[in-house]
Protein backbone atom coordinates (compact mmCIF):
# COMPACT_ATOMS: atom_id res chain seq x y z
CA UNK A 1 0.00 0.00 0.00
CA UNK A 2 3.12 2.10 0.18
CA UNK A 3 2.18 5.46 -1.18
CA UNK A 4 -1.53 5.44 -0.48
CA UNK A 5 -2.88 7.98 1.90
CA UNK A 6 -6.15 9.75 2.22
CA UNK A 7 -5.76 13.48 2.22
CA UNK A 8 -8.07 15.20 4.63
CA UNK A 9 -9.37 18.03 2.52
CA UNK A 10 -9.56 21.70 3.25
CA UNK A 11 -12.82 22.57 4.93
CA UNK A 12 -14.57 25.20 7.00
CA UNK A 13 -13.27 23.81 10.25
CA UNK A 14 -9.66 23.94 9.07
CA UNK A 15 -10.10 27.46 7.80
CA UNK A 16 -11.44 28.63 11.16
CA UNK A 17 -8.57 26.84 12.90
CA UNK A 18 -5.94 28.50 10.75
CA UNK A 19 -7.62 31.86 11.00
CA UNK A 20 -7.52 31.70 14.79
CA UNK A 21 -3.94 30.43 14.72
CA UNK A 22 -2.60 33.10 12.37
CA UNK A 23 -4.69 35.76 14.10
CA UNK A 24 -3.39 34.80 17.53
CA UNK A 25 0.25 34.63 16.47
CA UNK A 26 -0.06 37.85 14.44
CA UNK A 27 -1.68 39.68 17.35
CA UNK A 28 1.13 38.58 19.66
CA UNK A 29 3.88 39.66 17.26
CA UNK A 30 2.32 43.04 16.53
CA UNK A 31 1.49 43.83 20.15
CA UNK A 32 4.90 42.78 21.43
CA UNK A 33 6.83 44.76 18.84
CA UNK A 34 4.64 47.87 19.06
CA UNK A 35 4.64 47.93 22.88
CA UNK A 36 8.40 47.41 23.00
CA UNK A 37 9.06 50.11 20.41
CA UNK A 38 6.84 52.56 22.27
CA UNK A 39 8.36 51.84 25.69
CA UNK A 40 11.97 51.43 24.52
CA UNK A 41 12.36 53.47 21.33
CA UNK A 42 16.10 52.77 21.05
CA UNK A 43 15.70 49.01 20.69
CA UNK A 44 17.25 47.82 17.43
CA UNK A 45 14.94 46.21 14.90
CA UNK A 46 16.61 42.85 14.46
CA UNK A 47 16.71 42.18 18.19
CA UNK A 48 13.14 43.32 18.61
CA UNK A 49 12.00 40.82 15.97
CA UNK A 50 14.30 38.13 17.36
CA UNK A 51 12.61 38.49 20.74
CA UNK A 52 9.09 38.65 19.30
CA UNK A 53 9.48 35.53 17.14
CA UNK A 54 11.36 33.56 19.78
CA UNK A 55 8.74 34.30 22.43
CA UNK A 56 5.89 33.51 20.03
CA UNK A 57 7.42 30.13 19.10
CA UNK A 58 8.02 29.17 22.73
CA UNK A 59 4.50 30.14 23.79
CA UNK A 60 2.87 28.38 20.84
CA UNK A 61 4.81 25.22 21.66
CA UNK A 62 3.18 25.27 25.10
CA UNK A 63 -0.23 25.44 23.47
CA UNK A 64 0.64 22.57 21.13
CA UNK A 65 1.85 20.44 24.05
CA UNK A 66 -1.21 21.13 26.19
CA UNK A 67 -3.81 20.18 23.57
CA UNK A 68 -3.10 16.43 23.83
CA UNK A 69 -3.60 15.95 27.58
CA UNK A 70 -6.47 18.44 27.57
CA UNK A 71 -8.34 16.26 25.09
CA UNK A 72 -7.69 13.17 27.12
CA UNK A 73 -9.13 14.94 30.17
CA UNK A 74 -12.12 16.30 28.27
CA UNK A 75 -12.95 15.02 24.78
CA UNK A 76 -14.81 18.25 24.05
CA UNK A 77 -11.43 19.82 23.29
CA UNK A 78 -10.84 17.31 20.50
CA UNK A 79 -11.45 19.79 17.66
CA UNK A 80 -8.29 21.58 18.84
CA UNK A 81 -6.37 18.38 18.24
CA UNK A 82 -7.39 17.68 14.67
CA UNK A 83 -5.26 20.34 13.07
CA UNK A 84 -2.67 20.56 15.79
CA UNK A 85 -0.09 19.95 13.06
CA UNK A 86 -0.78 23.41 11.67
CA UNK A 87 0.15 24.87 15.06
CA UNK A 88 3.23 22.64 15.17
CA UNK A 89 4.44 23.73 11.75
CA UNK A 90 3.80 27.36 12.68
CA UNK A 91 5.94 26.87 15.80
CA UNK A 92 8.79 25.55 13.66
CA UNK A 93 8.52 28.48 11.24
CA UNK A 94 8.49 31.07 14.04
CA UNK A 95 11.56 29.37 15.48
CA UNK A 96 13.24 29.42 12.08
CA UNK A 97 12.72 33.18 11.74
CA UNK A 98 14.12 33.67 15.25
CA UNK A 99 17.15 31.49 14.52
CA UNK A 100 17.81 33.17 11.17
CA UNK A 101 17.81 36.58 12.84
CA UNK A 102 20.16 35.24 15.54
CA UNK A 103 22.64 33.83 13.03
CA UNK A 104 22.59 36.92 10.83
CA UNK A 105 22.82 39.37 13.75
CA UNK A 106 25.01 37.63 16.29
CA UNK A 107 27.12 35.29 14.22
CA UNK A 108 27.48 36.53 10.64
CA UNK A 109 29.93 39.22 9.57
CA UNK A 110 32.68 38.08 11.90
CA UNK A 111 35.90 36.11 11.73
CA UNK A 112 34.18 32.70 11.97
CA UNK A 113 31.66 30.71 9.94
CA UNK A 114 28.26 31.81 11.34
CA UNK A 115 26.89 28.31 11.96
CA UNK A 116 30.17 27.21 13.54
CA UNK A 117 30.02 30.32 15.67
CA UNK A 118 26.70 29.14 17.17
CA UNK A 119 28.70 26.35 18.79
CA UNK A 120 32.14 27.89 19.12
CA UNK A 121 30.72 31.21 20.19
CA UNK A 122 29.70 29.94 23.59
CA UNK A 123 32.96 28.61 25.07
CA UNK A 124 32.46 26.52 28.20
CA UNK A 125 33.91 28.42 31.09
CA UNK A 126 32.35 26.63 34.04
CA UNK A 127 30.07 29.56 34.78
CA UNK A 128 26.40 30.04 33.98
CA UNK A 129 27.25 32.31 31.06
CA UNK A 130 29.30 29.43 29.65
CA UNK A 131 26.32 27.09 29.45
CA UNK A 132 25.82 26.66 25.69
CA UNK A 133 22.29 27.96 25.47
CA UNK A 134 22.40 28.64 21.74
CA UNK A 135 23.20 25.02 20.77
CA UNK A 136 20.16 23.97 22.87
CA UNK A 137 18.03 26.18 20.69
CA UNK A 138 19.71 24.93 17.55
CA UNK A 139 18.92 21.27 18.27
CA UNK A 140 15.37 22.08 19.34
CA UNK A 141 14.86 23.83 16.01
CA UNK A 142 16.27 20.86 14.11
CA UNK A 143 13.66 18.64 15.79
CA UNK A 144 10.81 21.07 15.16
CA UNK A 145 11.74 21.45 11.50
CA UNK A 146 12.09 17.70 11.06
CA UNK A 147 8.61 17.33 12.50
CA UNK A 148 7.25 20.10 10.31
CA UNK A 149 8.81 18.53 7.22
CA UNK A 150 7.28 15.13 7.96
CA UNK A 151 3.96 16.47 9.18
CA UNK A 152 2.05 15.60 6.03
CA UNK A 153 -0.01 12.41 5.82
CA UNK A 154 2.29 11.34 3.01
CA UNK A 155 5.08 10.79 5.53
CA UNK A 156 2.72 9.24 8.00
CA UNK A 157 1.78 6.61 5.43
CA UNK A 158 5.36 6.04 4.31
CA UNK A 159 7.05 5.95 7.67
CA UNK A 160 4.19 3.89 9.18
CA UNK A 161 2.17 5.23 12.06
CA UNK A 162 4.34 3.91 14.93
CA UNK A 163 7.57 5.28 13.45
CA UNK A 164 5.92 8.60 12.69
CA UNK A 165 4.47 8.76 16.17
CA UNK A 166 7.82 8.09 17.84
CA UNK A 167 9.49 10.68 15.61
CA UNK A 168 6.90 13.19 16.68
CA UNK A 169 7.33 12.30 20.36
CA UNK A 170 10.66 14.11 19.99
CA UNK A 171 8.65 17.28 20.51
CA UNK A 172 9.16 16.67 24.23
CA UNK A 173 12.92 16.67 23.73
CA UNK A 174 12.55 19.92 21.79
CA UNK A 175 10.53 21.42 24.62
CA UNK A 176 13.11 20.38 27.23
CA UNK A 177 15.90 21.88 25.10
CA UNK A 178 13.97 25.11 24.71
CA UNK A 179 13.35 25.42 28.44
CA UNK A 180 17.13 25.16 28.89
CA UNK A 181 17.68 27.56 25.97
CA UNK A 182 15.48 30.18 27.62
CA UNK A 183 16.67 29.53 31.18
CA UNK A 184 20.36 29.85 30.34
CA UNK A 185 19.79 32.50 27.70
CA UNK A 186 17.40 35.37 28.06
CA UNK A 187 16.58 34.63 31.71
CA UNK A 188 20.23 35.38 32.53
CA UNK A 189 19.76 38.90 31.19
CA UNK A 190 16.13 39.84 31.72
CA UNK A 191 15.87 39.64 35.48
CA UNK A 192 12.29 40.80 35.84
CA UNK A 193 10.42 38.07 37.79
CA UNK A 194 7.70 38.14 35.13
CA UNK A 195 9.96 36.06 32.88
CA UNK A 196 10.90 33.45 35.47
CA UNK A 197 7.26 33.15 36.48
CA UNK A 198 6.13 32.81 32.88
CA UNK A 199 8.65 30.07 32.06
CA UNK A 200 8.06 28.26 35.38
CA UNK A 201 4.29 28.61 35.03
CA UNK A 202 4.42 27.19 31.52
CA UNK A 203 6.44 24.22 32.71
CA UNK A 204 4.01 23.57 35.57
CA UNK A 205 0.98 23.70 33.25
CA UNK A 206 2.55 21.39 30.64
CA UNK A 207 3.73 18.86 33.22
CA UNK A 208 0.57 19.16 35.32
CA UNK A 209 -1.77 18.46 32.41
CA UNK A 210 0.28 15.45 31.31
CA UNK A 211 0.33 14.02 34.83
CA UNK A 212 -3.40 14.62 35.29
CA UNK A 213 -4.18 12.94 31.97
CA UNK A 214 -1.94 9.99 32.84
CA UNK A 215 -3.73 9.56 36.19
CA UNK A 216 -7.06 9.61 34.41
CA UNK A 217 -5.99 6.71 32.28
CA UNK A 218 -4.55 4.54 35.02
CA UNK A 219 -7.85 2.67 35.67
CA UNK A 220 -8.22 1.73 32.00
CA UNK A 221 -4.59 0.73 31.80
CA UNK A 222 -4.82 -1.69 34.70
CA UNK A 223 -5.39 -5.30 33.71
CA UNK A 224 -8.89 -6.58 34.40
CA UNK A 225 -9.32 -8.27 37.78
CA UNK A 226 -10.19 -11.80 36.98
CA UNK A 227 -7.45 -14.01 35.64
CA UNK A 228 -7.66 -15.71 32.30
CA UNK A 229 -9.88 -18.78 32.27
CA UNK A 230 -9.00 -22.11 30.68
CA UNK A 231 -9.81 -20.82 27.23
CA UNK A 232 -7.90 -17.60 27.75
CA UNK A 233 -10.90 -15.24 27.85
CA UNK A 234 -10.57 -12.42 30.35
CA UNK A 235 -13.30 -10.57 32.22
CA UNK A 236 -13.11 -7.07 30.73
CA UNK A 237 -16.08 -5.05 31.94
CA UNK A 238 -19.82 -5.11 32.47
CA UNK A 239 -22.00 -4.79 29.38
CA UNK A 240 -23.89 -2.05 31.21
CA UNK A 241 -20.68 -0.02 31.51
CA UNK A 242 -20.64 0.57 27.75
CA UNK A 243 -22.88 3.21 26.24
CA UNK A 244 -24.76 2.31 23.08
CA UNK A 245 -22.61 2.87 19.94
CA UNK A 246 -19.65 3.72 22.16
CA UNK A 247 -16.74 1.83 23.62
CA UNK A 248 -14.80 1.11 26.77
CA UNK A 249 -11.04 1.01 26.49
CA UNK A 250 -9.25 -1.67 28.48
CA UNK A 251 -5.68 -2.84 28.50
CA UNK A 252 -5.08 -6.51 27.74
CA UNK A 253 -1.58 -7.99 27.74
CA UNK A 254 -0.09 -4.61 27.07
CA UNK A 255 -2.39 -3.66 24.23
CA UNK A 256 -5.32 -1.31 24.36
CA UNK A 257 -8.59 -2.82 23.26
CA UNK A 258 -11.76 -0.90 22.42
CA UNK A 259 -14.94 -2.84 23.25
CA UNK A 260 -17.92 -1.45 21.35
CA UNK A 261 -21.62 -2.02 22.05
CA UNK A 262 -23.98 -1.46 19.13
CA UNK A 263 -27.25 -2.86 17.81
CA UNK A 264 -27.47 -5.42 20.63
CA UNK A 265 -23.98 -6.74 19.98
CA UNK A 266 -20.47 -6.37 21.39
CA UNK A 267 -17.25 -6.33 19.33
CA UNK A 268 -13.65 -5.65 20.28
CA UNK A 269 -10.94 -4.14 18.11
CA UNK A 270 -7.51 -2.65 18.69
CA UNK A 271 -7.77 0.86 20.07
CA UNK A 272 -5.17 2.17 17.64
CA UNK A 273 -6.36 3.80 14.44
CA UNK A 274 -4.27 2.99 11.38
CA UNK A 275 -4.24 6.58 10.27
CA UNK A 276 -2.44 8.41 13.07
CA UNK A 277 -2.87 6.11 16.05
CA UNK A 278 -6.06 7.92 17.04
CA UNK A 279 -8.00 6.34 19.93
CA UNK A 280 -10.78 4.33 18.26
CA UNK A 281 -12.31 3.64 21.67
CA UNK A 282 -13.13 7.35 21.90
CA UNK A 283 -14.95 7.10 18.59
CA UNK A 284 -18.51 6.12 17.85
CA UNK A 285 -20.34 3.62 15.67
CA UNK A 286 -21.80 5.62 12.80
CA UNK A 287 -23.63 3.98 9.89
CA UNK A 288 -22.54 0.62 11.24
CA UNK A 289 -18.84 1.58 11.29
CA UNK A 290 -16.51 2.40 14.16
CA UNK A 291 -15.52 5.99 13.38
CA UNK A 292 -12.22 7.41 14.59
CA UNK A 293 -12.73 10.68 16.45
CA UNK A 294 -9.63 12.26 15.03
CA UNK A 295 -10.15 12.26 11.30
CA UNK A 296 -13.10 9.95 10.77
CA UNK A 297 -11.43 6.83 9.39
CA UNK A 298 -13.96 3.99 9.62
CA UNK A 299 -13.73 0.29 10.44
CA UNK A 300 -16.36 -2.45 10.54
CA UNK A 301 -16.72 -3.61 14.16
CA UNK A 302 -16.68 -7.34 13.37
CA UNK A 303 -13.80 -7.48 10.87
CA UNK A 304 -11.76 -4.42 11.82
CA UNK A 305 -11.51 -3.61 8.10
CA UNK A 306 -12.35 -0.27 6.52
CA UNK A 307 -15.32 -0.51 4.17
CA UNK A 308 -14.23 -0.62 0.50
CA UNK A 309 -12.61 1.11 -1.31
CA UNK A 310 -10.44 1.81 1.71
CA UNK A 311 -7.86 -0.72 2.77
CA UNK A 312 -6.99 0.08 6.39
CA UNK A 313 -7.40 -2.81 8.81
CA UNK A 314 -7.05 -3.09 12.58
CA UNK A 315 -6.70 -6.27 14.68
CA UNK A 316 -9.89 -7.75 16.16
CA UNK A 317 -10.41 -9.67 19.41
CA UNK A 318 -12.73 -12.57 20.13
CA UNK A 319 -15.48 -11.62 22.58
CA UNK A 320 -18.12 -13.39 24.58
CA UNK A 321 -20.83 -12.10 26.94
CA UNK A 322 -21.66 -14.02 30.15
CA UNK A 323 -23.91 -12.93 33.00
CA UNK A 324 -23.91 -9.35 31.86
CA UNK A 325 -20.11 -9.20 31.60
CA UNK A 326 -17.89 -8.95 28.56
CA UNK A 327 -15.05 -11.45 28.18
CA UNK A 328 -12.26 -10.81 25.70
CA UNK A 329 -9.51 -13.09 24.47
CA UNK A 330 -6.31 -11.05 24.87
CA UNK A 331 -4.66 -12.51 21.79
CA UNK A 332 -5.35 -10.20 18.82
CA UNK A 333 -6.52 -11.68 15.54
CA UNK A 334 -4.58 -10.55 12.47
CA UNK A 335 -5.85 -7.18 11.18
CA UNK A 336 -9.06 -7.56 9.22
CA UNK A 337 -9.97 -11.01 10.62
CA UNK A 338 -13.66 -11.39 11.35
CA UNK A 339 -14.51 -12.09 15.01
CA UNK A 340 -18.11 -13.07 15.72
CA UNK A 341 -19.85 -10.23 17.62
CA UNK A 342 -21.31 -11.39 20.93
CA UNK A 343 -25.07 -10.80 21.21
CA UNK A 344 -26.10 -8.85 24.29
CA UNK A 345 -29.89 -9.21 24.55
CA UNK A 346 -30.19 -12.92 24.12
CA UNK A 347 -27.42 -13.37 26.59
CA UNK A 348 -29.47 -13.75 29.76
CA UNK A 349 -31.70 -16.40 28.22
CA UNK A 350 -29.22 -18.41 26.26
CA UNK A 351 -26.12 -18.29 28.41
CA UNK A 352 -27.18 -21.26 30.52
CA UNK A 353 -27.85 -23.36 27.49
CA UNK A 354 -24.61 -22.25 25.87
CA UNK A 355 -22.67 -23.07 28.99
CA UNK A 356 -24.26 -26.52 29.09
CA UNK A 357 -23.36 -27.05 25.46
CA UNK A 358 -19.79 -25.96 25.97
CA UNK A 359 -19.26 -28.23 28.93
CA UNK A 360 -20.90 -31.06 26.98
CA UNK A 361 -18.60 -30.57 24.01
CA UNK A 362 -15.57 -30.37 26.26
CA UNK A 363 -16.40 -33.70 27.81
Amino acid sequence: MGLEYKAVRWNRQKRIYDFALVGGVGAFLVLFTVSTKVLFPFVTGEILLMRAFGAAAFILLHVVLCIGPLCRLNPKFLPLLYNRRHAGVTTGLLGLVHATLVVVTYHAGGDTNPILSVFKGSPLTGSIAGVPFQPFGFFALVILLLMAATSHDFWLANLSAPVWKSLHMLVYAAYALLVLHVAFGVLQAEVNPVYVLAVGGGLVVVLGLHIAAAFREVPTDRAPDSAAGDDGFVDACAVADILEKRARIICLSGERVAIFKYDGKVSAVSNVCQHQNGPLGEGKVLDGCITCPWHGYQYLPDTGASPPPFVEKVPTFNVRVRHGRVFVRPKPNPPGTRAEPAPVEAESRSSRLEEALTSASER
Binding site: F28, H107, D111, T125, A129, E190, Y195, K284
Partner: protein, 258 residues
Protein backbone atom coordinates in the same frame (compact mmCIF):
# COMPACT_ATOMS: atom_id res chain seq x y z
CA UNK B 1 -21.10 12.49 29.46
CA UNK B 2 -23.54 13.40 26.73
CA UNK B 3 -23.38 11.63 23.42
CA UNK B 4 -22.10 14.44 21.20
CA UNK B 5 -19.62 13.17 18.65
CA UNK B 6 -17.61 15.21 16.27
CA UNK B 7 -15.17 14.17 13.57
CA UNK B 8 -12.42 16.54 12.59
CA UNK B 9 -13.52 17.07 9.01
CA UNK B 10 -17.18 17.81 9.68
CA UNK B 11 -18.42 21.27 8.73
CA UNK B 12 -19.85 22.12 12.13
CA UNK B 13 -19.27 20.79 15.60
CA UNK B 14 -22.25 19.89 17.80
CA UNK B 15 -23.25 22.81 20.03
CA UNK B 16 -21.72 21.52 23.27
CA UNK B 17 -18.32 20.80 21.73
CA UNK B 18 -18.49 23.96 19.64
CA UNK B 19 -19.04 26.27 22.57
CA UNK B 20 -16.34 24.57 24.62
CA UNK B 21 -13.83 25.01 21.81
CA UNK B 22 -14.89 28.61 21.20
CA UNK B 23 -14.31 29.37 24.88
CA UNK B 24 -10.87 27.74 24.75
CA UNK B 25 -9.88 29.70 21.64
CA UNK B 26 -11.14 32.99 23.11
CA UNK B 27 -9.10 32.29 26.23
CA UNK B 28 -5.97 31.57 24.20
CA UNK B 29 -6.34 34.72 22.12
CA UNK B 30 -6.85 36.86 25.22
CA UNK B 31 -3.84 35.14 26.77
CA UNK B 32 -1.69 35.94 23.73
CA UNK B 33 -2.66 39.61 23.92
CA UNK B 34 -1.96 39.92 27.66
CA UNK B 35 1.31 38.03 27.44
CA UNK B 36 2.54 40.12 24.50
CA UNK B 37 2.14 43.35 26.44
CA UNK B 38 3.34 41.91 29.75
CA UNK B 39 6.55 40.46 28.28
CA UNK B 40 7.23 43.70 26.41
CA UNK B 41 6.75 45.90 29.48
CA UNK B 42 8.91 43.64 31.66
CA UNK B 43 12.05 44.11 29.55
CA UNK B 44 14.89 45.78 31.43
CA UNK B 45 17.92 45.51 29.19
CA UNK B 46 17.15 47.97 26.42
CA UNK B 47 19.17 51.14 26.94
CA UNK B 48 19.47 54.55 25.32
CA UNK B 49 21.92 54.16 22.47
CA UNK B 50 21.98 55.13 18.83
CA UNK B 51 23.41 53.73 15.62
CA UNK B 52 22.74 56.23 12.83
CA UNK B 53 22.28 53.41 10.37
CA UNK B 54 22.26 54.62 6.77
CA UNK B 55 23.41 58.14 7.69
CA UNK B 56 26.96 58.72 6.45
CA UNK B 57 28.84 61.80 7.68
CA UNK B 58 32.31 63.26 7.09
CA UNK B 59 34.76 63.66 9.96
CA UNK B 60 38.18 65.34 10.19
CA UNK B 61 40.67 64.99 12.99
CA UNK B 62 43.84 63.41 14.21
CA UNK B 63 44.03 59.63 14.10
CA UNK B 64 45.49 57.85 17.09
CA UNK B 65 46.29 54.15 16.99
CA UNK B 66 46.95 53.68 20.73
CA UNK B 67 45.61 51.90 22.63
CA UNK B 68 42.84 51.28 20.09
CA UNK B 69 42.32 53.30 16.90
CA UNK B 70 40.40 56.50 17.58
CA UNK B 71 39.91 59.90 16.08
CA UNK B 72 40.46 63.17 17.96
CA UNK B 73 38.10 65.81 16.62
CA UNK B 74 38.45 69.38 17.84
CA UNK B 75 35.30 70.62 19.51
CA UNK B 76 33.80 73.56 17.66
CA UNK B 77 34.65 76.86 19.24
CA UNK B 78 37.03 75.40 21.77
CA UNK B 79 40.48 76.80 22.29
CA UNK B 80 43.45 74.51 22.41
CA UNK B 81 43.77 72.58 25.63
CA UNK B 82 43.35 69.16 27.11
CA UNK B 83 39.59 68.80 26.78
CA UNK B 84 39.10 70.45 23.46
CA UNK B 85 39.00 67.17 21.57
CA UNK B 86 36.23 64.63 21.27
CA UNK B 87 37.37 61.03 20.96
CA UNK B 88 35.66 58.72 18.49
CA UNK B 89 36.60 55.05 18.48
CA UNK B 90 37.13 53.89 14.90
CA UNK B 91 35.85 50.49 13.75
CA UNK B 92 35.04 48.81 10.48
CA UNK B 93 31.62 47.51 9.33
CA UNK B 94 30.29 44.22 10.71
CA UNK B 95 32.38 42.60 13.43
CA UNK B 96 35.84 44.03 12.69
CA UNK B 97 38.06 46.63 14.22
CA UNK B 98 40.06 49.12 12.16
CA UNK B 99 43.05 47.54 10.44
CA UNK B 100 45.95 47.84 12.90
CA UNK B 101 48.58 48.36 10.19
CA UNK B 102 46.63 51.22 8.64
CA UNK B 103 46.08 52.78 12.05
CA UNK B 104 49.80 52.58 12.83
CA UNK B 105 50.73 54.19 9.49
CA UNK B 106 48.36 57.08 10.09
CA UNK B 107 49.09 57.43 13.80
CA UNK B 108 49.28 61.09 14.73
CA UNK B 109 48.31 62.21 11.22
CA UNK B 110 45.49 64.50 10.32
CA UNK B 111 42.81 62.63 8.32
CA UNK B 112 39.41 62.98 6.68
CA UNK B 113 37.03 60.03 6.74
CA UNK B 114 33.44 59.08 6.14
CA UNK B 115 31.38 56.93 8.44
CA UNK B 116 28.32 56.29 10.53
CA UNK B 117 27.98 57.58 14.05
CA UNK B 118 27.35 55.28 17.04
CA UNK B 119 26.84 56.73 20.51
CA UNK B 120 25.72 56.04 24.02
CA UNK B 121 26.15 58.33 27.03
CA UNK B 122 29.44 60.18 26.56
CA UNK B 123 30.91 57.47 24.35
CA UNK B 124 31.12 57.94 20.60
CA UNK B 125 32.29 55.71 17.78
CA UNK B 126 32.48 55.86 14.01
CA UNK B 127 31.91 52.88 11.74
CA UNK B 128 34.36 53.88 8.99
CA UNK B 129 33.34 53.32 5.38
CA UNK B 130 35.70 51.15 3.34
CA UNK B 131 38.75 53.14 2.15
CA UNK B 132 37.36 56.53 3.04
CA UNK B 133 40.28 57.48 5.31
CA UNK B 134 42.37 60.15 3.56
CA UNK B 135 45.43 61.74 4.97
CA UNK B 136 45.23 65.56 4.96
CA UNK B 137 48.07 67.34 3.20
CA UNK B 138 48.26 70.35 5.43
CA UNK B 139 48.94 69.18 8.93
CA UNK B 140 47.90 72.29 10.73
CA UNK B 141 48.53 73.19 14.31
CA UNK B 142 45.84 70.57 14.99
CA UNK B 143 48.41 67.86 15.41
CA UNK B 144 50.51 69.96 17.67
CA UNK B 145 47.62 70.61 20.00
CA UNK B 146 46.35 67.03 19.85
CA UNK B 147 49.73 65.79 20.92
CA UNK B 148 49.34 67.71 24.14
CA UNK B 149 46.62 65.32 25.29
CA UNK B 150 49.07 63.28 27.32
CA UNK B 151 47.81 60.43 29.51
CA UNK B 152 47.11 61.24 33.15
CA UNK B 153 47.66 58.46 35.66
CA UNK B 154 44.74 57.99 38.06
CA UNK B 155 46.38 55.24 40.12
CA UNK B 156 45.56 51.62 40.80
CA UNK B 157 41.89 50.74 41.09
CA UNK B 158 39.79 47.61 41.48
CA UNK B 159 36.70 47.64 39.26
CA UNK B 160 33.75 45.30 38.90
CA UNK B 161 31.86 45.22 35.66
CA UNK B 162 31.10 43.39 32.43
CA UNK B 163 33.38 43.16 29.41
CA UNK B 164 31.37 44.27 26.39
CA UNK B 165 32.26 44.80 22.77
CA UNK B 166 32.16 48.55 22.46
CA UNK B 167 30.55 48.58 19.04
CA UNK B 168 27.39 46.62 19.88
CA UNK B 169 27.03 48.04 23.36
CA UNK B 170 27.31 51.63 22.18
CA UNK B 171 24.38 51.17 19.85
CA UNK B 172 24.75 48.80 16.94
CA UNK B 173 22.70 46.30 18.89
CA UNK B 174 20.31 47.17 21.63
CA UNK B 175 20.37 45.30 23.94
CA UNK B 176 24.00 44.43 23.17
CA UNK B 177 25.13 43.02 26.50
CA UNK B 178 24.83 40.05 28.86
CA UNK B 179 24.40 36.36 28.07
CA UNK B 180 22.09 36.46 25.01
CA UNK B 181 24.59 38.74 23.29
CA UNK B 182 27.68 36.90 24.54
CA UNK B 183 28.51 34.99 21.35
CA UNK B 184 28.23 38.18 19.29
CA UNK B 185 30.41 40.13 21.72
CA UNK B 186 33.01 37.37 21.51
CA UNK B 187 32.96 37.51 17.70
CA UNK B 188 33.23 41.30 17.68
CA UNK B 189 36.10 41.45 20.16
CA UNK B 190 37.83 38.60 18.36
CA UNK B 191 37.47 40.64 15.16
CA UNK B 192 39.22 43.65 16.67
CA UNK B 193 36.44 45.75 18.19
CA UNK B 194 37.88 47.42 21.34
CA UNK B 195 36.93 45.49 24.49
CA UNK B 196 35.54 47.74 27.17
CA UNK B 197 34.88 47.15 30.85
CA UNK B 198 31.41 48.50 31.50
CA UNK B 199 31.05 49.59 35.13
CA UNK B 200 27.44 50.29 36.05
CA UNK B 201 27.01 52.76 38.90
CA UNK B 202 23.91 52.83 41.06
CA UNK B 203 24.01 56.61 41.23
CA UNK B 204 25.65 58.10 38.22
CA UNK B 205 26.26 57.26 34.61
CA UNK B 206 28.02 54.06 33.56
CA UNK B 207 31.81 54.23 33.17
CA UNK B 208 33.72 52.73 30.26
CA UNK B 209 37.30 51.51 30.54
CA UNK B 210 39.25 50.47 27.48
CA UNK B 211 41.07 47.27 28.37
CA UNK B 212 44.79 46.97 27.64
CA UNK B 213 47.58 44.76 28.91
CA UNK B 214 50.05 46.00 31.52
CA UNK B 215 52.30 47.21 28.71
CA UNK B 216 49.44 48.94 26.91
CA UNK B 217 48.70 46.45 24.14
CA UNK B 218 45.27 45.31 22.90
CA UNK B 219 43.94 42.29 24.79
CA UNK B 220 41.18 41.20 22.39
CA UNK B 221 42.18 37.56 22.14
CA UNK B 222 42.91 37.14 25.85
CA UNK B 223 39.54 38.32 27.18
CA UNK B 224 37.22 36.24 24.99
CA UNK B 225 36.31 33.72 27.68
CA UNK B 226 35.44 36.44 30.18
CA UNK B 227 33.02 38.41 28.04
CA UNK B 228 29.45 39.08 29.21
CA UNK B 229 29.98 37.96 32.78
CA UNK B 230 30.65 39.82 36.02
CA UNK B 231 34.41 40.26 36.35
CA UNK B 232 36.71 42.04 38.72
CA UNK B 233 39.84 43.73 37.40
CA UNK B 234 42.57 45.46 39.34
CA UNK B 235 44.88 47.69 37.36
CA UNK B 236 46.30 51.11 36.62
CA UNK B 237 43.70 53.57 35.40
CA UNK B 238 44.72 56.43 33.18
CA UNK B 239 42.89 59.16 31.37
CA UNK B 240 43.88 59.94 27.80
CA UNK B 241 41.78 62.88 26.71
CA UNK B 242 38.22 61.65 27.07
CA UNK B 243 39.16 58.00 27.21
CA UNK B 244 39.59 55.95 30.37
CA UNK B 245 42.11 53.16 30.03
CA UNK B 246 42.57 50.22 32.38
CA UNK B 247 46.00 48.57 32.30
CA UNK B 248 46.09 45.06 33.73
CA UNK B 249 47.35 41.61 32.80
CA UNK B 250 44.29 39.68 31.51
CA UNK B 251 45.55 36.64 33.43
CA UNK B 252 44.68 38.49 36.62
CA UNK B 253 41.05 39.23 35.65
CA UNK B 254 38.76 37.47 38.06
CA UNK B 255 35.38 35.97 37.08
CA UNK B 256 32.86 36.63 39.84
CA UNK B 257 30.53 33.77 40.70
CA UNK B 258 26.94 34.54 39.90
Amino acid sequence: MNDEFYIGWEERAPSGIGSQVRRAVAFLLAFAVVLAVLLAVAQRTIGVSVFEWGKVKSFSGVLRSQPYPHLLVPRPGAVTGQTSFSSYYLVKPFKFGLDAGLARRLDGKSVNLKGTLIYRGNQTMIEVIGDSIQQQDNPSQLIASASTTAPVNLGEQTLIGEIVDSKCYLGVMNPGQLTPHRACAIRCISGGIPPVLLVRQTNGPALYFLLVSSDGRPVNKQVLNLVAEPVQITGEVERQGELLILRADPATYRRLAR
